[in-house]
């Protein structure tokens, strides 16, 4: 069940909210858990692969219970260590429990996400009988909830937080429907105060609803529309597109990616508000940054924070000699690339980001920060190029597209020009405008004006109109 669906907005959400507010406050966590489980099961259920979908649901439950248990055991071992005569023994046990938890969590993520990638590459290099790929059904949200559970276990082990004593509260945090599918990934302590005590006033609810509406607008009215241009290009075939069209296409894709994910994150944050939780921001106008280093501090911020806290700093961060620092960056960016998807283009993409960031750290970064125009031009070129590596997983196609960006290749095949963008210009312009902080400034200034409520209302119903159109007509998004 995606947020931008009629089923979610008009069936699940109203029923859930009614239960959430009508039942006594002490039952809110339980209702949130039940609601989240229904949400998860509805999303994971695949009638063509019943066995596998049940397995993925059970795995999700097992992950929650096992992580909770490991957290408790880690804490208990530390408590014993404080009292015992041989504290080292208990500390070793604590570490063992941490490792069990980590291996279980990361193991399943690797299994589901990367097995076929490894098999494919193994078949490529080995001369023996090729191993057929496994038919796996990846559990929904596994990339996100695994990072959430790993973060929890490490925090408990580091004694940053006490282990959660209530399985109910723990399950609520991990499974909470606003963030289970695509984050934001947050640390346990961000949300744990809200778990025990939270109040939702009507004006807070209103605030959440507004945020949710803006997210819905970004997702349905911008991202989904812009997505059309990108899919048009893949249908035309990259060798046939002119250079201006290639640039328009990759810009459209960059905007689509941003508004899709930013919109989704805003919906999650809005829903959080409506339920009394403070879910952290995930984006802070990344497209207006001057360097790639800055960009990644403002794009998918919760993921960046995760890699910083659980990979980069444990490796030593930047408080090491230079060679080691570069190595640390390499590890972080290769993992970031690989986390986004199991294919070579994501690894190259990670490497590309690494090279950009190392170059900026040592040479160019200072210049671009001081010369804003140059910085913006640099990023306007670099962002689409980096997303191109992200978007196209077939390396041959990727090369073809990159060639078209600089006018190489194609020859007689170039038969699709910039006129293909007609119908998308307004979305591109609105998209570019919404990348700046201009809309936010206006919104803050006029937030309480009644006209703002009317505009938001229009955004909401326009989005719903589009959703109705697409469910009325199964071909809304793939018309021929």
């Amino acid at each position: 069940m995606v947020f931008s669906s009629l089923e979610f907005l008009f069936v699940f959400l109203p029923i859930f909210l009614l239960c959430y507010y009508l039942f006594p406050k002490r039952m809110q966590n339980l209702i949130l858990l039940i609601g989240s489980m229904i949400f998860y099961i509805y999303g994971a259920y695949d009638k063509e692969q019943i066995g596998k979908s049940i397995a993925s649901i059970l795995l999700f439950l097992a992950t929650i219970v096992l992580t909770f248990t490991c957290g408790r055991f880690i804490e208990r071992q530390f408590q014993c260590a404080d009292r015992a005569e041989q504290p080292d023994r208990h500390k070793r046990f604590a570490k063992a429990w941490l490792l069990i938890g980590l291996i279980f969590n990361i193991g399943w993520l690797v299994f589901f996400k990367y097995t076929n990638f490894f098999l494919e590459n193994w078949n490529h290099i080995s001369s023996g009988e090729p191993i057929p790929p496994l038919k796996l059904l990846m559990p929904i949200g596994i990339s996100f909830y695994t990072f959430q559970t790993v973060s929890y276990l490490v925090d408990v082990y580091r004694k940053d937080i006490p282990a959660e004593k209530s399985l109910l509260r723990f399950s609520v945090v991990i499974a909470m429907f606003p963030h289970i599918i695509s984050g934001p990934i947050f640390r346990y302590r961000t949300i744990s105060p809200d778990l025990r005590e939270r109040t939702v006033t009507l004006s807070q609810f209103d605030e959440g609803l507004r945020t949710m509406t803006i997210g819905l607008g970004y997702k349905v009215l911008l991202a989904n529309q812009l997505g059309g241009l990108w899919s048009d290009l893949s249908a035309i075939g990259y060798e046939s597109i002119s250079t201006p069209l290639a640039w328009a296409g990759i810009i459209a894709y960059s905007l689509q990616l941003y508004f899709d994910f930013y919109g989704y994150s805003l919906i999650a944050i809005g829903l959080g508000h409506m339920l009394g939780f403070q879910i952290p921001d995930n984006f802070d106008h990344p497209y207006t940054t001057l360097t790639m280093t800055d960009f990644w501090r403002k794009w998918h911020m919760t993921l960046g924070a995760w890699f910083r806290d659980y990979v980069y700093i444990p490796l030593g961060g930047n408080r090491v000699r230079k060679g080691r620092h570069i190595f640390n960056l390499l590890v972080v960016w290769l993992l970031t690339g690989f986390w986004h998807g199991a294919s070579w283009n994501f690894i190259f993409w990670g490497l590309f980001l690494f090279l950009c960031i190392v170059t900026e750290k040592n040479w160019t970064g200072k210049y671009f920060r001081e010369h804003k125009t140059a910085g913006h031009v640099y990023m306007i070129l670099l962002i689409p190029i980096s997303w191109l590596m992200f978007a196209i997983s077939d390396l041959e196609q990727l090369t073809t597209y990159a060639g078209r960006l600089i006018g190489i290749g194609g020859g007689d095949n170039v038969i699709a020009g910039i006129e293909k963008v007609s119908g998308y210009w307004e979305f591109l312009l609105i998209g570019i405008l919404c990348c700046t902080n201009f809309p936010k400034i206006i919104y803050r200034k006029w937030k309480l004006a009644p006209v703002t409520s009317i505009v938001l209302l229009a955004v909401f119903w326009f989005a719903v109109y589009y959703m109705c159109m697409s469910s009325n007509d199964p071909f809304m998004y793939f018309r021929f």
């Binding site: 009507l202 609803l209 507004r210 075939g237 699709a416 209302l457 469910s471 009325n472 071909f475 021929f480």
Partner: protein, 308 residues
């Protein structure tokens, strides 16, 4: 307005509007989950036209409807009725089997797929399309934009289908388009946008469209072009847009061909793989061929001109 009210205004407005919109929204939801797509929405768009009937069920084409009787060329239709089956030309596509140099034993190839055209076809040249009209969906838009047939008229749009024909193209109805000019040949390729709709009404409506064409353009040769297949991958995962559904529609459409003034051409012969799915090498989205291949399609159409 007091601040307290303004802080809650959006929630109140949204709730009120939701109550007003509820019947429509829940109606849509209900339709999506509990009822089949139907073509009833604009079924009256061609209500005044009796659908063309197939030559198989009604051998006398002249007697199908009053509109066709007065306009159809009696000579060609008589001929057609007599030779409809014999004039069926077929293209057999034998899957290519790669043989290694060491292998000497012959392996039985998988059964060849037969592409059945209805009509007699001879090679022609580009001048043939000067008085042609092409009607169709996005694949036809592809022929218009990327193909080599530039001298023809086009009446096509992305998303155009049998069931939404009444919406017209750029504000022009099909009726108006057909009334504006006399055409010598009309190519029609529609249906892939209709596989999600109820089957029977779709076919009836298709026959109405053919009848309208016949009525407005009595002397034109009508080319029914098959809808192109989709790739194996797409076909396997799409509830509506899959090759069995497309084949069902194509077969039904081909039945309207009489091998004389209505012919049927199956372009799938050109772009299918050995298993009868759209060849994955030709497409990026599993549905549309790459722009560069439309030239081949145009060449193929030029090479398949209905024999006079």
């Amino acid at each position: 307005m007091p601040k307290k009210t303004r802080l809650r205004l959006y929630t109140v407005l949204l709730l009120v509007s939701a109550v007003i919109a509820a019947p429509k929204v829940y109606g849509t939801l209900w339709d999506t989950h509990f009822s089949e797509q139907t073509a009833s929405e604009d079924s009256d768009s061609f209500g005044d036209i009796a659908p063309l009937t197939t030559p198989v069920t009604t051998p006398q084409l002249q007697s199908t409807t009053t509109t066709t009787t007065t306009n159809a060329n009696p000579e060609s239709s008589t001929e057609a009725n007599g030779s409809a089956t014999s004039a069926t030309s077929t293209t057999v596509k034998v899957p290519q089997t790669t043989t290694t140099t060491t292998t000497t034993t012959t392996t039985t190839p998988p059964p060849a797929i037969v592409y059945q055209h209805v009509g007699n076809f001879v090679p022609g040249d580009a001048g043939y399309f000067a008085d042609a009209l092409f009607i169709g969906d996005s694949r036809m838009v592809g022929i218009r934009d990327y193909g080599t047939i530039k001298n023809a008229d086009y009446y096509c749009n992305v998303g155009l289908g049998i069931n939404n024909m009444s919406k017209g193209v750029d504000g022009v109805s099909l009726d108006a388009k057909l009334s504006a000019k006399t055409y010598g040949k009309i190519y029609i390729m529609l249906g892939v946008n209709d596989v999600g709709y109820a089957y029977e009404p779709t076919i009836t409506k298709y026959a109405q469209i053919l009848a309208l064409i016949r009525q407005k353009q009595p002397n034109a040769v009508i080319y029914i072009l098959s809808n192109l297949h989709v790739t194996k991958q797409r076909s396997a995962h799409d509830r509506y847009v899959n090759n069995p559904m497309i084949d069902r529609l194509n077969t039904a459409q081909s039945a309207y061909a009489n091998a004389a003034d209505i012919v049927y051409l199956d372009s799938n012969a050109l772009f299918d793989d050995a298993e009868g799915n759209l060849n994955a090498d030709y497409t990026g989205d599993g549905t549309h061929i790459y722009a560069k291949h439309y030239k081949d399609w145009c060449d193929w159409l030029t090479a398949h001109i209905a024999a006079p």
